[in-house]
């Protein structure tokens, strides 16, 4: 919970991690990948305020105590959603598995939602594992990292027939939220790996699932925006947008927020700190204080008011995950501005 100027914000951190990325967990022969991955993440932390930077040693192996303090005690978060990423070709025990997350979550009832994941290249065995995880951890969401390496494969698309089989099974098992994270490698390598058109296909074919595109499709915000404006079940996950731009590049943060508010709308944007990349404290404080700057280039973007910030920081994700939010945090049903419908129709007609 965060309070500012008499306004109370219920905070759902819809995209965060508890990873183990130290040398003790690196796969023999793949050390350079494991090291390269965590160093790349660490560089992202450099985009936040200097006083929140960690040394690489802590960054690789932060502890349960670090997480509980940074996220809940100092970071104002009421409920946090674990998003696992396995990367078992590089990290022996996995980078950030469902089991590791859930083990922490079980010690702190009510604080965490344990999402799981699947990889359609894992065949029948993967389907069974998905079922076990959903039943054991009561997962309502999955995180899909489509650029994960798997037995010589460099990635998959949501529109692959093998993935549709998994999406169908996930839906039968009660999964509702599909968090999609794009990465830099996929097959074939001559195509743009960050292309989001596969999400468009899946969102059309699975209208009862919600697709939360993490990092708003960065580095393909424009493709994401065109897609999201046409698909009612596509959401913008703001991890990296707030963490990577709000402090480091405020003018470009304002532009990206303006575009998202225009194309996607404040009802379909969700806050995620991407912890341990960035601590939530400065992100929540800064976002509540943020206003669209007074600038000719930004003058016709939609504005974001207090009600809109409450939705983005927690209420939207609370709806996706059936989190009961006390009445004092809620906003009137009609508050805020949805994305312009006329413009969405313009796009779909083009």
């Amino acid at each position: 919970m965060y309070t500012k100027d008499g306004e109370k914000y219920f905070i759902v951190d819809s995209h965060m991690h508890y990873w183990s990325a130290g040398p003790d967990n690196w796969v023999k022969g793949a050390e350079h990948y494991a090291k390269g991955w965590i160093e790349c993440f660490h560089a992202y932390q450099g985009l936040g305020p200097a006083e929140t930077h960690w040394p690489i040693e802590k960054f690789m192996s932060y502890t349960e105590d670090d997480l509980m303090k940074d996220v809940f005690e100092d970071g104002y978060v009421d409920v946090a959603v674990f998003q696992p990423t396995y990367l078992k070709e590089w990290y022996a025990e996995g980078f950030n598995t469902t089991e590791r997350n859930a083990a922490l979550g079980e010690k702190h009832p009510g604080k965490f939602i344990a999402n799981t994941r699947f990889d359609p290249r894992d065949g029948d065995e993967g389907l069974k594992e998905l079922q076990r995880n959903v039943e054991r951890y009561r997962s309502k969401g999955v995180k899909l990292y489509t650029a994960e390496w798997n037995n010589g494969s460099r990635g998959y698309k949501l529109s692959d027939p093998g993935c549709y089989r998994y999406l169908e099974r996930a839906q039968e098992l009660g999964i509702r939220n599909i968090h999609v994270h794009k990465g830099p490698t996929i097959w074939p390598l001559d195509k743009d790996a960050f292309d989001v058109s596969d999400v468009d296909h899946a969102a059309t074919d699975f209208p009862e699932l919600n697709f939360i595109v993490e990092h708003v499709g960065l580095p393909r915000i424009e493709d994401f925006c065109f897609m999201a404006t046409q698909e009612p079940n596509v959401y913008a996950g703001l991890s990296v947008v707030i963490g990577g731009l709000m402090h480091a590049r405020p003018k470009f943060f304002a532009k990206v927020m303006g575009e998202l508010l225009f194309w996607v709308g404040e009802d379909k944007m969700t806050f995620g700190s991407d912890y341990g990349i960035w601590e939530p404290k400065w992100q929540v404080e800064g976002f509540v204080d943020w206003q669209m700057p007074d600038d000719d280039d930004l003058s016709d973007y939609p504005r974001l008011d207090t009600a809109g910030k409450k939705k983005i920081l927690g209420l939207n994700a609370a709806k996706l995950y059936d989190i009961q939010v006390p009445a004092e945090f809620l906003v009137p049903a009609q508050a805020g501005q949805p994305a312009a419908k006329d413009d969405a129709q313009l796009v779909s007609g083009s």
Binding site: D190, P219, F252, V256
Partner: protein
């Protein structure tokens, strides 16, 4: 003699300034990607470095191959070597470019086509972003869609953004002369119909915002990795 050598090295560096990051649409020299460029005894050696270890291999390949072509074409350069450093696919890329093997052969089994379509796809994004760069000051000054749709390239005051837009359009084979319309569909080159202008301008604007956001993040990652870097 040393003056002549440094002239060749200077020409090689100038040639590298024509090589762009296809995603960010900026010269690799401005981005800090050229770690070093030296010419000795007619042999040019260029070292390139990127913001992250996992930057997309297709774009990395294009930059290395373009750098090779640019430097190899400089008078006085008899042979060239371009070395991508600190990248997960550096070996495949460096060896592939050195052997002039092409992308498909360099990434055996992992790619099905060369990178011309990918390059054109990102040039079209550059044209859209450039359209916003040219139109935004006009819109801020009060220009309406009805006024913009009848403008030709020659009717817009000269500016660096304008010459960049013309150049990108010419590279794609789109109309780029003074009599060509300012607003064209970047895929087909056809003039944008009046009714579609507001949406076209919105798309141009979000495309520019996307490229700027990427550039911001890449510059921060580059600085974390190597110090220095650039600003946008």
């Amino acid at each position: 003699m040393s003056a002549a050598l440094s002239d060749v090295a200077g020409a090689a560096l100038a040639a590298l300034a024509t090589v762009r990051d296809p995603e960010l649409d900026k010269p690799v020299t401005d981005l800090g990607f050229v770690a070093s460029c030296a010419v000795s005894g007619g042999r040019a050696t260029v070292r390139l470095r990127l913001p992250t270890y996992f930057c997309a291999p297709n774009f990395a390949y294009l930059m290395v191959a373009d750098a090779y072509d640019a430097v190899a074409g400089v008078p006085g350069v008899e042979s060239a070597e371009v070395i991508l450093e600190d990248h997960f696919a550096a070996d495949a890329i460096n060896e592939g470019v050195a052997a002039q093997a092409g992308f498909v052969q360099s990434f055996d089994g992992e790619a099905v086509a060369e990178l011309g379509d990918l390059r054109a796809q990102f040039l079209r994004k550059a044209v859209m972003a450039g359209t916003d760069q040219v139109c935004r000051p006009l819109i801020n000054a009060g220009a309406t869609p009805e006024e913009l749709v009848v403008l030709t390239l020659g009717a817009v005051p000269a500016s660096p953004a304008m010459s960049r837009l013309k150049q990108r359009r010419a590279e794609l084979g789109l109309p780029a002369g003074d009599d060509a319309p300012l607003l064209v569909d970047p895929a087909a080159g056809a003039p944008v119909p009046a009714a579609q202008v507001p949406l076209h301008l919105r798309k141009a604007r979000v495309t520019r915002a996307g490229i700027e956001a990427n550039t911001s993040i890449c510059s921060g990652l580059f600085r974390a990795r190597y110090g220095g870097g650039w600003t946008v």
